[in-house]
Amino acid sequence: MKKSRGAILSLSLVFLSAVAVAQSALDVPVNLGVKEVSLEQALLKLIQDYDVRLSFSNNILPDIQISANFKKKPLRQVLDALLEDTDISYREIGNQIVLYQKERPDVERKFTISGFVEDADTGERLIAASVYDRRLGKGVETNEYGFFSLTLPQGDIQLSVNYLGYIPQEYNFKLNSDKRLQIELNASLLLPVVEIIAHDSIVSDLRSGHSSDYFNAEDIEQLPALGGEPDLIRATHLLPGVQTGTDGIGGIHVRGGNAEHNLILIDGVPVYNALHAAGLFSVFNTDAIRSAQLIKGGFSARYGGRLSSVLDVHTKEGNLNRLSGTAEIGLLTARASLEGPLIKEKSSFFVSARRSFLNWYTRPISEDEKAKQGIKGKTLYDFFDVNAKVNYEFSPKDKVYLSYYQGNDHFDNDGFSSDSFTYYSNRWEDTVRIRYDSWYGESLSWGNTVAAARWNHIFGNKLFANTTLTYSRFATNIYYGEVDSLVWSNRDTTLQRVYDFGRFRSSIEDVGGRMDFDWLLSPSQTIRFGWGLTEHQFNPGALTYNEIIEYIGPEDVQGNDPINSTESFAYLESNMVLGSKFALNIGVHAARLKVQEKTYNLLQPRLSAYWSVGERFGMKAAYGEMAQFLHLLSNSSIGLPTDLWVPATADVPPQQAWQASTGFDYDFKVLELSIEGYYKKMHNLLNYTEGAYFLNDWEENVTSGQGRAYGIEMLLRKSKGNTTGWMAYTLSWSDRRFELINLGERYPFKYDRRHDLKIVLQHAFSKWMRVSASWIVSSGFAVSLPIAEYYYEKPNGNSVPVIDYGSKNQFRMPYYHRLDISANFNFKTRSFWHDVNIGFYNLYNRKNPLYYDLRTNFINENGELKEKKEYVQVWLLPILPSVNYAIKF
């Protein structure tokens, strides 16, 4: 109920004279029970019920909703409670209690609007939603937990809230006091276009100098995918500055960095191996992803521990309002997820699982192939992932999350063969039948386990705190065995049996905790600070083996001793908007490692800036120093799960890098262009010494070196309309130099792809049909191939071949190129949504080589057996169709 504004309402009612004489009006006990009424209504109720002589102007009353229940409380106490958080005070003047606006200071009065932005349907909090006042053009983005705090001058507010794929909301109100909002956005019925940079261009102030790209699950699901399996890591391959091996083998390499230089976080916890099947798939089940952000350079100070990039993945929290779920089946995997409220609007859960059924294919194919070679056996490969999360909101200011991830790969290979021969023995004067039995088996399993407990708390309106306890483990187990036996069949006697069994284990296990604070001082300044500590335990590989002839002896153990280390950090960063055009993020990340009685202290300054030169044109620059206390030692030319994670030690220093980048954005309205150049220098990189035997003590068989990378990235994108997409081009160089590799000479990094072009196009034919295509073309990666050979004669006259590879990685693979297409159809029946995805991976069946192998064959040439060598090109994935069907409710 509104009264006319601007008029003075004076209400004077007469108390009972006895009461008036006896005590102050403010001491009179009153009852007040109201629910969600305006302040004015609450005050009027007091006047009506108790004849209180209250005098006020309704112009000064803030537009707030009051719920209160007071019983026999002094009026003073009731008024204090009602007027809390407002700029109104009161004074007793004679018989009247006069409400008045507190004296305005000389400076402009400001109040804070804070709260969360959520999905109206699921209650999921939305990350990086923009909240801004259209009147002043000032705004902020929600943080990783959907929280925002916007401090604005008193007055009329036109608050606009936007999030990609959601219908924008607008709130008009008068800001007279601090305000708490729970903003709910409804998803747009039309699926969103794929927008890899989710910043709202209106809020130009919010842009920063760092290079980052956002994804959400819908984005990823719209892209053509291998086997129809939407994949976050594969989606990153389509961005400028991100390189990978053939068909994704070998992981991602951002701006010339190594695979281990990427900090991959699931709900803030590092994941050590983000790949299944050596990179064909990632460990991220798209069903579980709420949002992801890839930062390629100019990291904020809150991130630490890696040199090249941060892939920050947030999983879904669970639908707070209703039970919902999905089930999906494709040619290679099946997955399902379920989410819903545990306590309505207070607590929810999310659980999802994915399993491959590659065994369906590998078992019959391998059995047939082995049978052709006279072997009875099989080859199996499978993987699975499980994600689970629960949350509980204790109060509007406190929320707790528990999250869990486990993913495992398993590979098995075995075979049994038997052969026999017969001869006449003079000694036994009989025919002797000998049978030779041979069995072999290998089993390789690896996986990540990640768990986190998180508590969000809001202090006041501006300070958001997040406390996290984390656990992360990556382990590899390899078992192998071989049994060869000679059996005298006639007498059923085993003449000789040779066993060779072994197992290899390596693991890295982290237990840690961290506290992060977002202090949202004003729209033009946010301060973030925090600290944390992680205990690492490394078991960098130990082989236990038995090599037995006729008797079983004790196991021999060869390998490395466990190493423990303690990593701690603290950071401070400030996001500032200077004037209306210049945004600055400045900070420092301090990290410390204690290992083997040695302490490393590393201070890493970070700086990024964005200058909105004009309405459409902005320039950016960033500089950052990074340190990494972990190394990944690879014993092959492609990343495999047998690669060893090892720590910096007293003898092995941490990896360090610095990166500087600069560029600009230009908005052509229909198209947006971004161009950025970078230079990165890396020190104390670690690699196995050339030819090192990888089961030896790793610390004594590694070599330190340096790397550098530089290039220019260009991104031209169209993100509005029925036809959307982008074109990304990168021109880059990257090399390495290690003392004990390539004779100490500099050589090209394997993923030194000079040119890299990615084109993604999508077209929405209707609300229910969308077609997309992506085309990648890249310079071939750098490899070493045997070029020539000669012979070295040993003193005993025997010769050994000497292979000349030239300089390391001097050969280039041919250009890699591949076209993928897919079509998405979605429709609704009753309360179910159905999605059908049909696609082709590598549509024109390009045979992109994974590697070249020099094979030796023997040929009959004029009756003479001759050796013939030839290079064989091995490739992985031909044209692969995919059909996926998903049902959602």
């Binding site: 040619l331 369906w360 294919y361 019959p364 194919i365 014993n635 092959s636 030319s637 492609i638 010494t689 050339e690 030819g691 090192a692 035997y693 089961l695 030896n696 003590d697 068989n701 070599t703 004990l740 390539n742 004779l743 070493s784 191939l785 045997p786 070029i787 020539a788 050979e789 000669y790 070295y792 004669e793 040993k794 006259g797 010769s799 050994v800 000497v802 292979i803 000349d804 590879y805 030239g806 390391k808 001097q810 050969f811 069946n845 045979k847 070249y852 192998d853 013939k868 060598k869 030839e870 290079y871 064989v872 090109q873 091995v874 490739w875 031909p878 044209i879 692969l880 169709p881 059909v883």
Partner: protein
């Protein structure tokens, strides 16, 4: 979709894939002279020369017998090396007839052959390290069917010269006596040396097992000191034919070229190889060619083995 149908689709697709001959244009390949020579003090210089061949050739190595091989001390011409033709025990090689190199001198080898650019290389023989002590201890014997397996610890102490960097190749040889028992008398019929090889499982950046026996190491961690090393050696003999003799040691102080070449060669020989393994780049000090021309100087000692 039923499993058999899916399987059939995948089999059909995979059957068309995987591998095919690759026509690689390895422009980098050009036949060059490969020169191999390790030379010591007061011994004739022997040089073996062959042609490098493409990695895909797959034919036997071709040794040159028409090369002109010249040796210089600094810029001073010393001698044209004489060809020793192929024999049942050795490939053809070239050798100095009169000249024997000395410690500390810088020698240059130049080779001309028809159809090839002249190649050349330089090296010198380093000052030998003096062996100050050699001992054998902790001898153990294990009886196996038809053989005796010996294990013992060898300790060697030597003096590392005070030069900037020194490199070593340490070889161990087990002397084995052949014998026969004739009418209750043991008759020694001869003796021979077995070179002891080490497993690459002990390799590290400073010390590696040489593929043809012994170990290679540098003095990065002990420059200019008296240095002690211990190794456990294992050897076995047939007790019905052999007797264990002395243990001989050869400590070669080697030039940097020798160390780098043989280190990389040894690592390449023990590398698993294959397309997924990282290659080992071979050191080469032959200008315009391939191979090694490197000096070394040996110190010898021996120790008896007492059970």
């Amino acid at each position: 979709m039923s499993r058999p149908l899916l399987t059939l689709v995948i089999i059909l697709l995979l059957a068309a894939a995987c591998e095919s001959p690759a026509d690689l244009n390895l422009n980098e390949f050009e036949t060059k002279l490969a020169v191999i020579s390790n030379f010591g003090p007061d011994q004739p210089v022997k040089v073996q020369i062959s042609k490098t061949q493409s990695a895909t050739t797959g034919t036997d190595p071709e040794y040159l017998e028409d090369a002109n091989v010249l040796l210089y001390r600094g810029n001073t011409f010393l001698e044209i090396l004489k060809l020793v033709p192929e024999s049942p025990t050795s490939k053809p090689y070239y050798v100095t007839e009169n000249f024997k190199p000395q410690i500390g001198e810088l020698y240059t080898l130049k080779v001309d052959a028809p159809g090839f650019e002249q190649v050349q290389a330089t090296s010198k023989i380093p000052t030998p390290a003096r062996i100050r002590g050699l001992g054998v201890s902790d001898v153990s014997v294990r009886e196996l069917p038809q053989e005796l397996a010996f294990a013992y610890k060898v300790s060697i102490i030597f003096e590392d010269p005070l030069e900037a960097s020194n490199y070593y190749h340490l070889n161990f040889y087990q002397q084995i006596w052949n014998y026969q028992v004739v009418e209750n008398d043991t008759i020694i019929t001869g003796n021979w040396l077995r070179k002891i090889a080490f497993s690459p499982e002990t390799d590290n950046n400073s010390l590696i097992a040489y593929f043809d026996g012994g170990v290679l190491f540098d003095d990065a961690s002990f420059n200019g000191k008296a240095v002690g090393y211990s190794f456990t050696l294992e050897t076995s003999i047939d007790p019905s034919k052999h007797l264990l003799g002395k243990m001989f040691t050869e400590l070669r102080t080697v030039s940097k070229e020798y160390y780098l070449f043989h280190n990389s060669l040894s690592r390449q020989q023990t590398s698993p190889g294959g397309p997924l393994s990282e290659p080992v780049i071979i050191y080469n000090n032959i200008e315009n060619g391939q191979g090694i021309f490197a000096g070394y100087s040996p110190s010898l000692d021996s120790a008896a083995i007492f059970r």
